[in-house]
């Protein structure tokens, strides 16, 4: 699996794609999956990160999501943000079509 986090990343969250729709989702603290990054559970440090990723296994096994992975996030005022441009685009939608993706659907 491709690496989408940084070695030594302090805060991480888990993302995946919904099997049926292919849409981007995030693992929440209670083990559900949300389309909003703001609902994502944030793990601090490597150990917590690995444990969070392991919690995605059940959803993979039940064919709810595919290809879960950790990515780096950072706390910002009122929530969290993805650190890399790639994950910022995944959480919002194409930067060239602001009428599409989560940026349009989630407001």
């Amino acid at each position: 699996m491709a690496q989408h986090s940084r070695k030594g990343a302090k805060f991480q969250a888990v993302t995946a794609s919904l099997l049926v729709e292919g849409l981007v989702v995030y693992l929440t603290a209670n083990g559900d999956w949300s389309e909003s990054l703001q609902d994502a559970a944030v793990a601090e440090g490597k150990e917590e990160g690995d444990a969070l990723l392991a919690r995605a296994d059940a959803a993979v096994a039940s064919n709810l999501v595919v290809e879960p992975y950790l990515f780096e996030v950072e706390p910002v005022e009122g929530g969290i943000n993805a650190s890399s441009v790639r994950e910022q685009i995944r959480k919002a939608g194409p930067t060239v079509r602001l009428d599409l993706g989560k940026q349009a659907e989630l407001g």
Binding site: R6, L19, E21, V24, V66, E67, I89, R90, V96, R97
Partner: protein, 552 residues
């Protein structure tokens, strides 16, 4: 154009049924993702950044009006009202849902279309010249042999699990519009001294992380032997291609490592064996059957110059500009080849809305014998338009955002989907192309600059053909931030060249200024009649380095 026979129909319908079953089993959990992924890829279905992406095959870039209308409808029903034409002359839908894909493929099959061989380590959809059949200096319609190759390669059991993907392009004019020298196999249709038509074969070209220009392996393969020869090349590759390292698995690496001479020796030895077996001689009756589908239409006898066309050019300056950039000479007097730009000012190269697809399909029906071609430069071509119809066609296109007059000019750029859509990308491509388009939008300035091809890729896989752009832009990721590396002097035509890296990469904020500096440097240096690429070939990279890095 070519119509399916009963075998094609059966094959495509069987594949739809098979994939419907596979999707059903995946959704029920009977197949794991690891088991399912290769199956969906064999049907052109990728999982991208925001959603699934389906790549639809458009064999040698030729579509009927009926097919384009169907693609428009699919865009509305299963996607978000648009599609993206690619550098492989295919169409990608960016938002289909897995559960809908079997129905989508069934709808495609109603117009003899599919997504087979658009992914995976097989012989991919064959690409060719968008001016096929109508170019003035063409030896023979390249789609005839392209169709032969399509039939031979489709589900060919020996070549379904190659070391890596395999791309074949065909061109039949001295001007190469199909970029044949950057394909795994490039085929140039030629005529020998005795007047027979045959094929010059280039092998081992490609872009990606190790760009290579194809080596000429054979000056003349007779028609009857073409499949035997191609099969021989494939066998040598299948035997010796590197399966241990995907970055070294393409045939270009094999040809580079053993050399063209050794490759030729091995192919010739294999060819002798294949010939001895005698099974692969191209049946001339079948060739003639296929050829009949590409026979020239009944053209009207028209005057060389159409008075109403000349009058319209005088009366409508925008139309005259469009004619200047977007039309090309047709081999039949009174007709023209029309290029429809999918590069509007500030737009996404290659994107086309469903409504626009319908407009183009209607325009083709009305003015160009119901046929459309997709170009590898991400535009569309109507190949058979009467000069006297050009003004009406222009007005129809212009009214629907399809009248941009920039073919071959600096704003007619190639760009891959990049990080806005693609899971492999490291940086965005489309916004860079858009910013360049906006910076150079003045048409007078574009004509002053002249022919200039800017190609942008969002990663080293080079779907945006950056290596062969006169100016190439490669997006790279440096610790999560996008940077853009510039190459100069690339070309994909009969003088194919891989561009030279000019120096350290630029930030997103700097890249458009850097492109403008390159363009201004060229204008200062150029001699009469020189295009950008001519000047670059004369002066080399140094003057550009100096102006670029002196100002940064």
């Amino acid at each position: 154009m070519y119509r399916y026979d009963e075998f094609d129909h059966e094959l495509v319908h069987e594949r739809v049924a098979q994939f419907r079953d596979q999707v059903g089993r995946r959704l029920k959990g009977e197949l794991t993702e690891d088991e399912f992924k290769p199956l969906r890829l064999m049907n052109g279905l990728y999982l991208q950044l925001h959603a699934y992406m389906l790549r639809v095959a458009i064999p040698y870039g030729t579509l009927s009006s009926r097919q384009l209308h169907k693609l428009a409808e699919i865009g509305r029903v299963y996607d978000k009202g648009y599609g993206h034409f690619t550098t492989r002359q295919n169409l990608q839908f960016n938002w289909p849902k897995l559960k809908d894909v079997p129905d989508l493929l069934a709808d495609l099959a109603t117009v003899e279309m599919h997504a087979i061989q658009t992914s995976g380590n097989c012989i991919r959809n064959v690409t060719s010249d968008q001016y096929a059949g109508v170019a003035q200096d063409e030896i023979e319609d390249p789609r005839i042999i392209s169709e032969v190759i399509r039939q031979w390669s489709t589900f060919h059991p020996e070549f379904s699990y190659l070391p890596r993907k395999f791309k074949i392009a065909v061109c039949a004019t001295p001007d190469d519009r199909a970029a044949i020298r950057v394909h795994d196999i490039g085929i140039q249709v030629v005529r020998n001294a005795s007047g027979e038509v045959g094929y010059e074969i280039y092998v081992g070209g490609g872009l990606g992380r190790t760009p290579m220009i194809g080596k000429k392996l054979n000056d003349f393969v007779p028609k009857a032997d073409i499949l035997a020869y191609l099969e021989s090349v494939m066998r040598v590759y299948n035997m010796h291609g590197r399966r241990d390292n995907m970055y070294k698995a393409r045939i270009k690496i094999l040809v580079h490592e053993i050399g063209a001479e050794e490759m030729r020796r091995q192919v010739d030895a294999e060819f002798a064996e294949v010939k001895k077996a005698g099974h692969l001689e191209l049946p001339m009756a079948e060739l003639e059957r296929i050829q009949a589908y590409f026979a020239a239409p009944e053209y009207e006898t028209l005057p060389e110059v159409s008075p109403e066309f000349e009058a319209a050019k005088k009366a409508d300056k925008d139309f005259a500009n469009w004619v200047r950039a977007n039309t090309a000479p047709h081999r039949v007097p009174g007709y023209a080849i029309v290029n429809i730009s999918l590069k509007p000012n500030g737009g996404t190269p290659g994107d086309c809305s469903s409504d626009q697809m319908d407009v183009v399909a209607d325009a083709a029906e009305k003015y160009s014998l119901g046929e459309i071609r997709v170009t590898h430069e991400q535009n569309l071509t109507l190949a058979n338009v009467k000069q006297s119809d050009l003004h009406a066609l222009y007005q129809m296109l212009e009214a629907n955002g399809l009248g941009t007059s920039n073919i071959g000019l600096i704003t007619d750029q190639i760009a891959c989907p990049g990080l806005d859509y693609c899971a492999l990308a490291n940086a965005r491509s489309i916004p860079i192309a858009q910013q360049i388009s906006e910076r150079f939008q003045d048409l007078e300035r574009q004509h002053h600059i002249g022919e200039l091809k800017i190609n942008t890729s969002g990663c080293i896989n080079a779907c945006g053909h950056h290596h062969v752009g006169h100016i190439g832009i490669l997006g790279v990721d440096k610790k999560g931030v996008e940077y853009y590396q510039v190459t100069l002097g690339g070309a994909a035509d009969q003088q194919t060249a891989v561009g030279d890296i000019v120096g350290p990469a630029f930030t997103e904020g700097e890249i458009v200024d850097a492109i403008e500096t390159i363009v201004e440097t060229y204008i200062d240096l150029r001699k009469d009649g020189e295009r950008f690429i001519d000047t670059y070939r004369r002066v080399g990279v140094d003057p550009f380095k100096e102006t670029l890095y002196a100002t940064h």
